[in-house]
Point group: C2
């Protein structure tokens, strides 16, 4: 159950076996069903999830009342409503399990406890925050600076598996466009 | 010259006098003139700036070719093209000194050297990243999820000094609206 998470951690930081055991002991197994809500707008984010299997998405409601998917986490990635997790304020985002799967969840309290007691965890969190900043900013900037066609081309180039693995409705939401616009883009040859 | 930065650091972390001296020695004074470019799109961000006096803005070009101001740093705040600083890739953002002033700049190399040699600096960076994530995500989300009127009301409630201290052109860019729309919003009573 902890093999993938162990690998994820050890590729980022050096810890002793004893420290690793303590870290892993704070991650609790959570099985999900399709479309299960993990965080709703207005709730405070209390967990970081590591995806053992399945797919989890983070989305929000845009100016036109449409769902816009900010992030898709497949296997061996972490996912969190990080703005709320950091600030302790209600989330503007929703988190949802897209597919049935297995998550490992660590609570905010346990996460900060590890920061206080295991020095290498501070470095783990540094990498996590840096990565989250770059990915999140890149995604939000793409909504503001790119046209629908540019976003679609970039998705095909960088993450074609999203288009292959998910239904059109979610791909359209990931691009923050309507399903009709997605169909038009797919019918063109890039 | 280092009084404000010293205060900024000591309000966030505990360090010895010797460590503080080492940290401060890596910040170099940089005087700016009005509208001085500090980072251009396509360059790699090589510095974090602490604003001793003046005002620095971070902006990018939106889908319609308009300048959108993501962040305004007044005195006693840090500012950086953080996505590029972290990734080492060319910036999508511009940084500009809006007013004549004094900055203290630390280079990327020196910043990461401090992370490797002064354990408390890791905690300083954690706070910096967390804060940057919350502020940046909040700003970009506001461009995507709020109408022009909602952004203007929020600015008046939370940062009225921006409206008071800066010319209309910059306020409009901060709201990512045209100057004409800003004039219309100002003429309404909220």
């Amino acid at each position: 159950m902890y093999e993938q998470l162990t690998d994820y951690i050890l590729r980022r930081i050096n810890v002793t076996d004893a420290q690793l055991s303590i870290i892993l002991s704070h991650f609790k197994l959570q099985k999900t069903v399709r479309n299960q809500a993990l965080l709703s707008e207005g709730e405070v984010a209390k967990n970081i999830f590591f995806v053992n299997s399945g797919c989890v998405r983070v989305y929000f409601i845009d100016e036109n009342g449409q769902e816009a998917t900010r992030y898709l986490a497949f296997e061996n990635n972490c996912v969190c409503g990080l703005m709320s997790f950091i600030s302790g304020k209600p989330s503007h985002e929703f988190i949802q399990a897209v597919l049935p799967g297995q998550l490992l969840a660590i609570s905010r309290n346990d996460f900060y406890y590890l920061l206080d007691t295991i020095p290498a965890w501070e470095k783990f969190y540094r990498h996590y925050l840096e990565n989250a900043y770059v990915i999140n900013t890149g995604r939000l900037m793409s909504f503001i600076t790119q046209s629908a066609g540019e976003r679609y081309r970039q998705l095909l180039n960088e993450n074609a598996h999203v288009v292959q693995r998910l239904p059109n409705k979610l791909v359209a939401s990931y691009l923050n466009i309507s399903q009709e616009t997605l169909s038009r883009l797919k019918s063109k040859r890039f």
